[in-house]
């Protein structure tokens, strides 16, 4: 019998509250940017910081308002953005152009709330250009992009760690200048520890899916990670993920799952979409095929061992390690933050095919996968397209592998007919393999 999570509501509310605060706050600072940025530095500016993050906002808006999303994207294209640019970006800019904003609680606010500053990252070729465009359209919002380099072993490469730390340090001085506020190391360090803790906790929660049956499926994982993406720096988020961790551990001990009937275990590479599409979801569900591990839901805001002497490991980090971390000074906190952010799996694959390959291999073995599902996103050139075709070449011979075109939010670019055909085929190949090995 399917297990029902008790933590649901609080997770949904947390996300809604964050967005509502950004929309309606009468005082405080509105900060915009990729939530793939380290967020704690913003919190050093005070307790009245309201964050809106590009990717999660675009994703959740598309989920809540499919028709609006379609309109946002075509508005952005009418406004001159590239037909092949990131569709998160286009949805986001589309809202700016239409001067309105739609959020997950189902409300649409006319009049786009201008941010006071943009604090973001640069990794793919248009990551920070996204906010350059927003800044330009909103009349020149001050912005600070941090180059995250990416590529394989980044968090263990002192050269890269120093580079990113140095940028964060400079960034903090910039934050003080542009806001005229004094930066509180105390608040910053507290937020930094929370941020790291949440990322580590999420890694642990995901890792529990190595058990059979896997306690969580991709759909739940996608629904449960937004708080960590939207704002992971608060005490509340830490509490929420600790509770969730306990609950999922309990599920494992009692052999329960949100989807008990699991005949096939799937490893998934791609941006969350499979469950956004009932067609594909149904095909997999009917076959008892579940996505039990996904580099996107695991690795976008979760940390793991990463490379241990040249081989990737999805072993989670011990949460208590975070409590013992020495974050006594700003410098120390910055370095630990830089390391944790650089360690995100979703970044390791960028520009380093070997990391992506090693990650896939480790996930397939550690999660005892029956199949590998690759869904490169037509308009995301980072992890979610980069290398997937090569990955298919490499794994096709070893394990049932299919690859179909998808898109994070732009339904026009998805291959629904093809994706359905290929998903049916995928199930067939996994069955055939089981029969052969039997």
């Amino acid at each position: 019998m399917a297990y029902t999570l008790t933590t649901w509501k609080e997770f949904k509310n947390y996300q809604n509250t964050c967005y509502r605060n950004y929309l309606y706050a009468s005082k405080g600072l509105r900060c915009m940017g990729s939530t793939w940025s380290v967020l704690a530095p913003l919190k050093g500016l005070g307790e009245d910081i309201h964050i809106i993050g590009g990717e999660p906002h675009a994703a959740s808006t598309a989920g809540t308002f499919p028709e609006e999303a379609r309109e946002d994207i075509s508005t952005a294209e009418k406004a001159g953005l590239g037909f092949h640019s990131c569709s998160y970006l286009k949805l986001f800019v589309g809202e700016v152009v239409r001067d309105k904003i739609a959020i997950t609680d189902g409300t649409i606010k006319e009049g786009y709330p201008k941010p006071d500053l943009i604090w973001t990252t640069h990794l793919c070729s248009q990551h920070s250009k996204w906010y350059q465009e927003v800044s330009r359209r909103l009349g020149g919002i001050p912005m600070y992009p941090i180059d995250m380099v990416g590529g394989g072993n980044a968090e263990k490469d002192t050269k890269i760690v120093n580079y990113v730390s140095y940028q964060i340090e400079e960034g903090i001085r910039w934050l003080e200048r542009v806001t005229g506020r004094e930066f509180s190391d105390e608040l910053f360090i507290k937020a930094a520890r929370n941020e790291i803790k949440v990322l580590v906790l999420w890694g642990n929660i995901c890792a529990l899916n190595r058990h059979a049956p896997a306690p969580l499926d991709e759909r739940r994982l996608i629904a449960l990670f937004p708080p960590a993406v939207v704002d992971r720096t608060t005490d509340q988020t830490v509490r929420m993920y600790e509770t969730l961790f306990e609950e999922v551990k309990h599920m494992v001990e009692t052999g329960q799952s949100v989807v008990p009937d699991q005949r096939y275990r799937i490893v998934y590479f791609g941006i969350a979409h499979a469950y956004g599409h009932p067609e594909m979801a149904r095909i997999l569900r009917d076959a008892g095929a579940e996505i039990v591990a996904s580099v996107y839901t695991f690795g976008t805001c979760g940390n793991f061992r990463g490379f241990v002497n040249g081989k990737w490991s999805w072993e989670p980090l011990d949460p208590s390690w975070v409590d013992e971390l020495d974050l006594s000074t700003r410098k120390k906190a910055i370095i630990e933050l830089a390391k944790i952010a650089l360690g995100w799996p979703t970044w390791q694959g960028v520009r380093s095919y070997w990391a992506l390959e090693s990650m896939a291999r480790a996930m397939i073995t550690e999660y005892k996968a029956d199949g590998l599902l690759l869904a490169p996103s037509r308009s995301c050139e980072t992890d979610f397209r980069n290398g997937y075709v090569g990955i298919q070449r490499i794994f096709k011979g070893e394990i049932p592998t299919i690859e179909y075109d998808s898109d994070q939010v732009d339904v026009r670019k998805m291959d629904l007919p093809g994706a359905q055909r290929k998903t049916e085929l995928f199930v067939h190949l996994m069955e055939a393999r089981k029969r052969r090995s039997a």
Binding site: R70, S74, E77, K78, V411, K413, M414, P417
Partner: protein, 281 residues
């Protein structure tokens, strides 16, 4: 005269009395058009449907010559235009479809025209122009928006209907599934797949036109729509595309003039250029 060829002339005019006999020949991706003016008055025009630019340029001009008993040497000046203009070997000059489209549209609809959508078989261009018919700016479709006009014919074949027919059918349903409007390949593929979900044919046709119109509307929006708005080229004759395009843009085009088939606008523009060049000589 077969379905692939269409000629018409103004019996009231006599070319032997004309001071300036000029022609414009527009060689497009699916058909070629020729227009003959006598002292800037429309005398004759023809359309020849063929995908072979070389022959079609000749076929188009020969059609009008035959009808009017003119000889090529009687024509004082010929301007070639359209994607196949290089193949109008008998023309004395070439002018682009952009300049000709603008000039022709303003001649037909008057100085209020400021945006001209040229939706042809192969490409879509949005042209901005002055009241004098001078192009000031244009936007050419991106590579992924190519072939919308042609695709309508392929689609008509697939659903076993006439291309003239599906345009009307497209306006008969107002609720239908939305399919990809990114490119003709995606749209066609998703339209075919609607069969699987047993969507009635008229809805599939509506969905297809709705999507193609959406794609064109993005191009128009991208270039900035300044009124008045005129549509020329083959697609201008497809009520399905036009209907949905107007509802996407929330702007109505200037209605076609009874005496002018929008298909000949660019050829007319070329003829107007021919007339001007002849007089400047």
């Amino acid at each position: 005269m077969n379905e692939h060829e269409y000629v018409s002339m103004n019996e009231w005019l006599d070319w032997t009395r004309a001071k300036a006999i000029v022609a414009g020949v527009d060689v497009g991706a699916v058909s070629s058009k020729a227009v003959i003016l006598l002292d800037r008055q429309l005398y004759a025009f023809s359309q020849v449907k063929t995908r072979m630019p070389k022959e079609s340029a000749f076929k188009a001009i020969n059609a009008v010559l035959a009808k009017t008993h003119l000889k090529l040497e009687n024509i004082h000046y010929i301007v070639g235009t359209g994607c196949g203009s290089m193949q109008v070997t008998f023309a004395s000059k070439r002018v682009t479809e952009i300049a000709c489209g603008a000039a022709g549209a303003v001649h037909i609809w008057g100085p209020s025209v400021h945006t001209v959508l040229d939706a042809g078989g192969q490409s879509c261009k949005v042209i901005h122009c002055t009241e004098k018919g001078r192009a000031t700016d244009f936007l050419w479709n991106d590579k992924c928006a190519v072939g919308i006009g042609r695709s309508l014919e392929t689609f008509a074949d697939l659903v076993k209907k006439e291309v003239t027919e599906i345009g009307r059918i497209a306006l008969q349903s107002d609720s239908f599934p939305k399919i990809s409007d990114f490119c003709v390949v995606y749209t066609q593929s998703e339209a075919l797949d609607l069969i699987r979900s047993k969507v009635p044919l008229e809805q599939v046709i509506a969905a297809y036109h709705y999507a193609m119109a959406k794609r064109i509307s993005i191009l128009v929006g991208r270039s900035g729509l300044k009124k008045d708005f005129a549509i020329i080229g083959g697609v201008a004759k497809n009520p399905g595309i036009i209907g949905w395009l107007e509802s996407h843009l929330k702007v109505n085009r200037l209605p076609p003039k009874p005496e002018w088939d929008p298909l000949f606008t660019t050829a007319l523009g070329a003829a107007l250029f021919a007339d001007a060049f002849y007089r400047w000589q």
